[in-house]
C-alpha cells in the first residue's frame, strides 16, 4: 500500500509570485508538510480549506512543486472560484490535504530529458529538477504568456538548462511549436515530459510520435475525489478504455492516451 495521507495542515505562506504575480493571477502557496515522503515529481495533492463550507464543494488538485521535510510548495494560477479562494487563505489557517496522488514522471538517469512546461504547467518540474539524479541531462523549454517572473522559472534555471518563449500574439504560437519540434527532434533516443494546456500536450504527443521520441504528458482533467473512486476524471486510452486520470495519471505515456 503506498503511503498516502489526509491531514489538516496550516498555511505557512501564500503570496503572489513575483512583482507581477498579483496582476496575472499567479501565486505561490506553502503548507506544512502533512507527512508526504517519497513524492514522485508529477504527483499532486488535493487541497480543501474547511472554511469553504460546502461551496465550493470539491477540493482542488495542484501539482506538488516542492516537497521539503517541513513544507510542501504549490504554484497556482487563479482559474476560478477555488483558486481565487486559495489567495485569501491566511497563514495558520487549516487546509485539508491528501496525497501524494497519481503517477509521477519517468526518471531515467541516462536519458537526455526535455521538460516542456506550458504556463503554470511548469510547477511539477521544480521538484523534478531538484530531485533528479543527473540534472545535467535535463533541459526545460518553457512557453508562457504572463512575464517569466510570475513562474518558478529562475528557480529551475538555477538547477538545469532552461529556455523560455513568451506568446504575446496568436502568431507566436506556431513559432513556439516550431521551436518545440526542433527541441523534441534533438531528444531522439531521450525522453520528453510535458505539462500544460491540452493543445500543447497534443503538439508534444504528435511531434514526439513523428520523431519517434518517447514522451509523457500530464493531464489536468477535472477531479472530484483524486483517489480513483468517482470516475469523473477519466481519460481515454487508444483501446477505448476509460481510465482514471487521478490514479493511472495524471502523467501518461503520450502513446497510451487519447488527447
Amino acid at each position: 500500500m503506498p503511503h498516502r495521507h489526509c491531514r489538516d495542515v496550516p498555511v505557512l505562506a501564500v503570496a503572489p509570485a513575483g512583482p507581477e504575480g498579483l496582476a496575472n493571477g499567479l501565486w505561490r502557496l506553502e503548507l506544512e508538510n502533512p507527512g508526504f515522503t517519497g513524492v514522485k515529481p508529477g504527483q499532486f495533492a488535493m487541497l480543501r480549506p474547511p472554511a469553504w463550507g460546502f461551496d465550493p464543494l470539491w477540493a482542488r488538485p495542484l501539482s506538488i512543486s516542492r516537497a521539503l521535510d517541513d513544507r510542501i510548495v504549490f504554484h497556482f494560477l487563479v482559474a476560478g472560484r477555488g483558486t481565487a479562494a486559495f489567495t485569501r487563505l491566511a497563514p495558520g489557517e487549516p487546509v485539508t490535504v491528501w496525497g501524494p496522488l497519481g503517477q509521477g514522471f519517468a526518471v531515467e538517469p541516462g536519458a537526455p530529458t526535455l521538460l516542456v512546461g506550458g504556463g503554470i504547467g511548469i510547477a511539477p518540474f521544480v521538484e523534478y529538477a531538484a530531485t533528479h539524479p543527473t540534472p545535467g541531462k535535463l533541459a526545460l523549454l518553457f512557453g508562457h504568456r504572463p512575464p517569466r517572473s510570475c513562474y518558478p522559472y529562475d528557480e529551475l534555471g538555477a538547477m538545469i538548462a532552461v529556455e523560455s518563449f513568451q506568446d504575446k500574439t496568436p502568431e507566436d504560437i506556431p513559432r513556439f511549436v516550431e521551436l518545440l519540434e526542433k527541441r523534441i527532434a534533438e531528444h531522439a533516443g531521450g525522453l520528453v515530459l510535458a505539462c500544460g494546456p491540452t493543445p500543447l500536450l497534443r503538439s508534444v504527443k504528435n511531434l514526439a510520435d513523428k520523431h519517434g521520441v518517447r514522451a509523457q504528458v500530464s493531464l489536468e482533467n477535472r477531479m472530484a475525489c483524486g483517489v480513483g473512486a468517482c470516475l469523473g476524471c477519466v481519460a481515454e486510452n487508444p483501446e477505448g478504455h476509460r481510465v482514471q486520470t487521478c490514479v493511472k495519471g495524471p502523467v501518461f505515456w503520450a502513446d497510451k492516451v487519447t488527447l
Partner: protein, 304 residues
C-alpha cells in the same frame, strides 16, 4: 453505546455505510482509514458486462452539490468478484453489491451471480440510476416495474438480503416504497440523485456530455430527509438513508427521521477519510446529545 443495526437480515456493527459509486470498490480508500471500522461498504454499481460509461465531462460542481453522469462505468460483476472482493475485509465488514441492469432478466442473472459469492453480504438494487438512457429511470419511477425487478432479484438472491434503492424523481415515493416492500424487499435505501443539469453560457454547451446528470451532496439533504421520513413511516422494513450526509449531525438527522442506517456519498469526496471519521464520531456526537441508545432515538422525531 450499542451501535449494531439489523437491516432485514444484514447486521452492521455500526450504521455508517458508504454509498454506491462514491467509494469505488472500497480499496481506493484503504490508505485513509481502516475499512473494518465501517458499518458496511456498498460498492460501485455492477453490471453483468463491463461498461465504459459516458464520455467526459461527467462531473459538474454546483452550489453545495455536484452533478454526475458517469454512466455506470464498472468492471463487471465477474471481475469484481474475482479481483476486487478478495481484497476487501468482507468477513469483518459486510460488502453490499449494488446491481444495475437494463431488464428484469439481466437483473435476475446478476443477482444470482453476486448472491452466490460468499463475500457479498447483501444486494442493493439500483432501480433509480438517472444517468443511463435505457432502463434505470423507468424501473424506479413506476411502482409496478419496481416491484417486478424486486421480485426478480429476490427470486435469485437466496438467503442474501435484498435492499432496493429508490429514486426521488417521482411524484409519490411512498407508492414505490410500498410496491417494493410488497414485492419482498428486505430493506429500502434512499435517495438516489435528483435529475439535474448544468450549462456553460460561454460555450453554449451542457457541462455534462450526457446533458443531464444526477445531483448529489449537501444541496439535496432536505429532499432526502423528507423522503426518508415519508417512507420510513409508510413501510415496516428497515430504511437506509442518504443524500448529502456530511457530518455526524447529518447522520443523526437521518436516524431521527427513521433511518436504520445511513450511507455516505458525495462527502467521501470532501476528504477521503470522511466515512472513517464519521464512524468514529457518530457515537460521540450521539452521547453529546444525551442519546444513550440509537434504537430509541431512531424515528423519534416529535411531530405536531
Amino acid at each position: 453505546m450499542d451501535l449494531r443495526v439489523d437491516l432485514g437480515g444484514l447486521t452492521l456493527k455500526n450504521p455508517v455505510m458508504t454509498a454506491s459509486g462514491t467509494f469505488g470498490y472500497g480499496l481506493e480508500f484503504a490508505p485513509y482509514g481502516d475499512l473494518r471500522s465501517l458499518g458496511g461498504i456498498v460498492v460501485k454499481g455492477l453490471s453483468l458486462k463491463p461498461r465504459e460509461g459516458n464520455p467526459v465531462p461527467r462531473l459538474a460542481e454546483t452550489p453545495s452539490g455536484m452533478l454526475n453522469a458517469i454512466g455506470l462505468q464498472n468492471c463487471g460483476a465477474e471481475r469484481f468478484l474475482k479481483s476486487m472482493l478478495p481484497g476487501l475485509p468482507w468477513r469483518e465488514t459486510p460488502v453490499v453489491a449494488n446491481l444495475y441492469a437494463c431488464d428484469t432478466l439481466e437483473f435476475a442473472e446478476l443477482a444470482g451471480l453476486l448472491a452466490s459469492a460468499e463475500g457479498v453480504a447483501a444486494l442493493e438494487v439500483n432501480i433509480s440510476c438517472p444517468n443511463v438512457q435505457a432502463g434505470g429511470v423507468l424501473f424506479g419511477q413506476d411502482p409496478a416495474l419496481a416491484a417486478r425487478v424486486t421480485e426478480a432479484v429476490k427470486a435469485r438472491a437466496g438467503s442474501k438480503p435484498v435492499m432496493v434503492k429508490l429514486s426521488p424523481n417521482v411524484t409519490d415515493i411512498v407508492a414505490v416504497a410500498k410496491a417494493v416492500e410488497g414485492a419482498g424487499a428486505d430493506a429500502i435505501s434512499l435517495i438516489n440523485t435528483l435529475t439535474g443539469m448544468a450549462v456553460d453560457v460561454r460555450t453554449r454547451k451542457p457541462r455534462l456530455a450526457n446533458v443531464v446528470g444526477g445531483l448529489s451532496g449537501p444541496a439535496i439533504k432536505p429532499v432526502a430527509l423528507r423522503c426518508v421520513w415519508q417512507v420510513s413511516r409508510a413501510v415496516s422494513i428497515p430504511v437506509v438513508g442518504m443524500g448529502g450526509i456530511s457530518s455526524a449531525t447529518d447522520a443523526l438527522e437521518f436516524i431521527l427521521v427513521g433511518a436504520g442506517a445511513v450511507q455516505v456519498g458525495t462527502a467521501n469526496f470532501l476528504r477521503p477519510d470522511f466515512s472513517f471519521r464519521l464512524a468514529e464520531e457518530l457515537p460521540l456526537a450521539a452521547q453529546a446529545l444525551g442519546i444513550t441508545d440509537l434504537s430509541t432515538f431512531r424515528g423519534s422525531l416529535a411531530v405536531g
